[in-house]
């Protein structure tokens, strides 16, 4: 078993409950031990970093300081790192860590506002994709698969925060990434080659500028459907919410009609590990995954565009 300190962040216990449920469901079978970080708070990614640079640094830094005190977050025989499933949390925590490590003046400000010195430099902040595709690796994941998803074509959607900027992420190529694809392939499904793996989905404007979001999501869904995908997988709660819930306006913008299932990578892995759909919270998406489940059941192909 690989023991990780686990930072859920707000999404996984709110809008992305199904992400956490499916993560907890696959953790055991894949040999991942999750030790939730005691006392974790907001990472500073959503509202804080738009209003105060220091607040965004301090919130993230405080959580990393907490993590540094556990035996799981700093790589050793007793720990494999701090596992962060949410792409926004991951980006914020890593960003703050890099900034604090590099800037002495910032460390002083941090100590002043939090009342404790910066000590989170040794924490190995890892996105879930990094843990699955690199700590475990596709071969180790594939070895656990009991129900290969052969015949299913999946578009891996990385979004923006998981890969960029490379100065803080760096675990995959930011323009032609492959880690998520390697996990899709490990399930026995076929990752499709497609153009929109890293295009912006517009989640930041999901409430305020629906027309822009409709266009961006429409482009992404069109590209996935045209590439023959039966589903999209992602590892980001914002991307998921946006791609899953905006298929109506995206369809209007693109002049077509979408019903393309959007899954968390943990859910796809869960299916391939033979876990019941209910345990993976697959029924909580707005765009029905029924057709995908039926296809997996039947081993048959289907299309993501309504006919």
């Amino acid at each position: 078993m690989r023991p990780y300190a686990y930072y859920p962040g707000c999404s996984l216990q709110g809008t992305a409950k199904e992400y956490e449920a499916s993560l907890r469901a696959i953790a055991g079978p894949l040999g991942i031990e999750l030790h939730e970080l005691p006392g974790w708070t907001c990472c500073g990614s959503s509202a804080a970093h738009a209003t105060s640079h220091l607040l965004a640094i301090a919130l993230a830094g405080r959580n990393l300081n907490l993590a540094a005190r556990t035996s799981f977050a700093v790589p050793s025989s007793r720990g494999a790192g701090l596992l962060v499933p949410c792409a926004a949390c991951y980006s914020r925590l890593r960003g703050a860590q890099v900034a604090l490590d590099a800037d002495g003046a910032l460390r002083e400000q941090f100590a002043e506002v939090t009342g404790e010195p910066w000590s989170g430099g040794a924490v190995a902040v890892k996105s879930l994709v990094e843990v699955l595709a690199q700590d475990l690796g596709p071969a180790e994941v594939a070895a656990c698969i009991v129900r290969p998803l052969s015949g299913i074509k999946v578009a891996s959607y990385y979004g923006c925060l998981l890969l960029r900027p490379t100065t803080i992420t760096g675990f995959d190529d930011p323009e032609t990434p492959s880690t998520l694809d390697s996990l899709v392939a490990a399930t026995g499904a076929s990752p499709v080659a497609w153009s929109h793996k890293t295009e912006c989905c517009g989640a930041g404007l999901s409430i305020s500028k629906r027309d822009v979001v409709g266009r961006l999501v429409g482009d992404i869904l069109s590209a996935a459907v045209d590439a023959g995908a039966h589903a999209i997988v992602t590892a980001c709660p914002m991307c998921h919410a946006n791609l899953d819930t905006r298929q109506d306006i995206a369809g209007k913008a693109a002049g077509r009609s979408f019903r393309l299932p959007v899954l968390y990578i943990t859910q796809l892995l869960g299916l391939a590990l033979g876990i019941a759909p209910r345990q993976l919270s697959l029924r909580s998406h707005l765009t029905s995954v029924g057709s995908l489940l039926a296809a997996i059941e039947a081993g048959a192909a289907l299309t993501g565009e309504a006919t």
């Binding site: 323009e175 032609t176 153009s195 929109h196 590209a223």
Partner: protein, 655 residues
């Protein structure tokens, strides 16, 4: 006691604005040995030099300190002035009050104090100078030009037309280089072949030029005026005396290989002439792809060759050429755009480079001049050009500007509009840089007469949608996203030095920068020379250039080479290392560190015994001083920079 004159230069206001000249003069007057101090607005001007000459005579000076700019700038000038007044030119020392003081400081009081220190150091050093002499070495009257593109051809022709023999060495089977691959040339739109081919033929037929194609320089020994250049001539497997260039062999050869000359847009055979106007028009067998060499059978070319020119057992040769001067003209390669994942990583077939596009529009190219896209051979209706791919990109490419791309992209866009009636043509750019005669006018024509759409902004992504490409970027003038559906995308990839350029620089013993471009001796005043005497630079091997600049530099390099070859003998530098044979233990550490191969071991007779000691060849020695530092015995000294002279300077600073 020496009689030293100190000449303090204002350099207009360059020095005088920061350094108090009067105080420097007052301080100099009381320095030991100084008998005359004066100043001048510009000491390097003719009146300034005349004042130096007059003062030497009037005050019987036997040492001179000029406190002015860097010795790299005017040491030679003042040595000549001192010599004109009858003094040994090495009884001069320059105190650098400009680059080392006035230009790098702001505080006038402190700068003046430092200037006084610099003058004091020069005074104590020059007091210890002794007259130095130079020797003369003969010059081999032949030049070797490395690289048979337009730069090498021009340099070879210019040297040969001045009456000196030239060996022109080219790595590929034909002369022509990059220019031979081009279609038309800016800013006049005349065809590259029409102006290049006659020069190729002229070079081949010139009585004083010997061509060595399919050959590479592998070793360079010797020194200015006396180089020994070893050339490896690869076997063509064809007897060039017999081959008539009739073409029967490559018509019948069964093996198709992607053509290097067409940059993969077309094919050649395993026996081939790279392009129809090749010089020499002789076939070459590509052994890596020839069935006979790989599997021991076929020999069709041998059977069909009426001239009996095929010669499978022809050996490679090593040929040594004695030469007085070398011109490096190795040109450029294209930056590999595979690092751009966002542009398809080099995997989208309809995303091509500017040089590949040249082959497509070229009448003798794989499509006979029709613009057809590689994926399906269809004529593109919308063509998008991207400038600065690799250039001006510190993260993934190179930081410099490749100088020619803005102009050739304008040319490409115009050709697209000409060849494909009604085509929509877009250019994404960061800036349009058109410094050059007639260049801005040319670019304006592309916009106004040819209707090319220029969009200011970088492209963030190119992706395939169906059988078309989507080019997504930003129009920074409109502040809007720009998305163009295109059939063909052409990348203006950066110019990088030709493959193997750094290795050749090491063979030649010349410098190159962090990108691999060869370093000129002075960026403004000696652009065609290197720091190695007798080795000159022409064309894009020194930095990105277009054809006009390349030809200009090639002629400049030829003049510099000819100047050298015109001399019966050349004067060696007086600033060279010398050996105190009594102290030398023959350990040869100096031999190992000498970058110029100037030091060798010799036997020395004396007192009935033979002792092995080192000896410095003053023709090769460049006076760098590396051997002096390496010498454990203190047996090596650099004339003009002896320990005694330098330590006196150090002591003078602490006074």
């Amino acid at each position: 006691m020496p009689r030293i004159g100190v000449f303090v230069c204002h350099c207009g206001s360059n020095i005088a604005a920061t350094v108090d000249i009067a105080r420097v003069m007052a301080a100099a007057e009381v320095m030991p040995g100084v008998v005359h101090v004066t100043d001048s607005k510009y000491t390097c001007s003719e009146p300034g030099q005349a004042a130096v000459r007059a003062a030497i005579r009037e005050h019987s000076l036997d040492r001179v300190v000029v406190a002015a700019c860097s010795p790299r700038m005017h040491e030679a000038t003042f040595r000549a002035a001192v010599a004109a007044a009858g003094l040994n030119p090495y009884l001069l020392e320059i105190a650098n009050l400009r680059e080392h003081c006035a230009w790098v400081h702001r505080d006038r009081v402190e700068a003046t104090a430092k200037a006084i220190d610099l003058v004091r150091m020069a005074v104590v050093k020059v007091a210890r100078h002794v007259p130095l002499t130079t020797s003369r070495i003969p010059v081999t009257k032949r030049a070797v030009v490395i690289g048979g593109g337009i730069a090498g051809i021009q340099a070879a022709l210019d040297v040969a037309d001045s009456g000196h023999p030239v060996v022109l060495v080219e790595r590929t089977p034909s002369l022509g280089g990059r220019m031979a691959q081009l279609d038309k040339t800016f800013p006049t739109l005349d065809c590259a072949a029409c102006i290049l081919t006659p020069k190729m033929v002229e070079a081949a037929n010139h009585p004083l030029i010997s061509l060595m194609t399919y050959s590479e320089v592998v070793k360079v020994e010797g020194f200015v005026g006396n180089f020994r250049v070893t050339v490896h001539r690869k076997a063509r497997s064809v007897d060039t005396d017999k081959c008539t260039g009739c073409g029967t062999c490559y018509e019948r050869c069964p093996v198709k290989v992607a053509s290097e000359f067409d940059l993969g847009t077309g094919y050649r055979k395993a026996i081939y002439v790279p392009f129809p106007q090749a010089v020499p028009n002789k076939a070459t067998i590509d052994k890596d792809n020839c069935i006979y060499y790989q599997r021991g059978r076929c020999r069709i070319c041998e059977r069909v060759c009426e001239a009996g020119a095929i010669c499978f057992d022809q050996p490679d040769e090593e040929i040594v050429i004695e030469a007085g001067a070398i011109v490096a003209a190795t040109g450029f390669d294209q930056f590999d755009h595979a690092v751009y994942g966002e542009y398809g990583q080099g995997r989208l077939p309809d995303v091509i480079t500017g040089l590949q596009y040249e082959r497509l529009v070229n009448a003798s190219g794989p499509t006979q001049g029709k613009i057809l896209r590689p994926s399906d051979g269809r004529e593109p209706r919308t063509i998008v050009f991207l400038s600065c791919v690799g250039s001006r990109d510190e993260h993934k490419g190179v930081p410099y500007c490749s100088a020619a791309c803005c102009m050739y992209t304008a040319k490409h866009a115009m050709l697209a509009r000409e060849r494909v009636p009604g085509a929509r043509v877009f250019v994404f750019y960061i800036d349009v840089r058109t410094g050059g005669k007639g260049y801005e006018e040319f670019y304006r024509r592309a916009v106004t007469e040819y209707g090319v759409n220029y969009l200011r902004g970088r492209v963030s992504r190119i992706y395939q949608r169906g059988d078309r490409l989507v080019v997504a970027g930003e129009d920074t003038l409109l502040g809007a996203q720009a998305k163009v559906e295109a059939d063909l995308v052409v990348l203006a990839t950066a110019m990088v030095p030709a493959a193997g350029a750094s290795e050749l620089a090491q063979t030649l013993g010349i410098g190159y920068d962090e990108h691999g471009f060869y370093t000129e001796a002075h960026p403004k005043l000696r652009p065609a020379e290197t720091n190695a005497a007798g080795i000159f630079l022409a064309g894009a091997c020194q930095g990105p250039k277009d054809i006009p600049q390349t030809v200009a530099q090639a002629s400049a390099a030829a003049v510099k080479a000819t100047q050298l070859l015109n001399r019966q003998s050349i004067e060696t530098s007086a600033i060279v290392a010398t050996v105190d044979a009594a102290k030398c233990s023959g350990c040869q550490w100096c031999v190992a560190v000498c970058p110029y191969g100037a030091i060798s071991l010799v036997d020395r007779q004396g007192h009935g015994a033979v002792k092995s000691v080192v000896s410095v060849n003053p023709g090769l020695c460049q006076g760098c001083g590396a051997c002096v530092v390496a010498c454990r015995d203190g047996a090596l000294h650099l004339l003009g920079y002896t320990d005694e002279q330098l330590l006196a300077e150090v002591e003078a600073v602490w006074q």
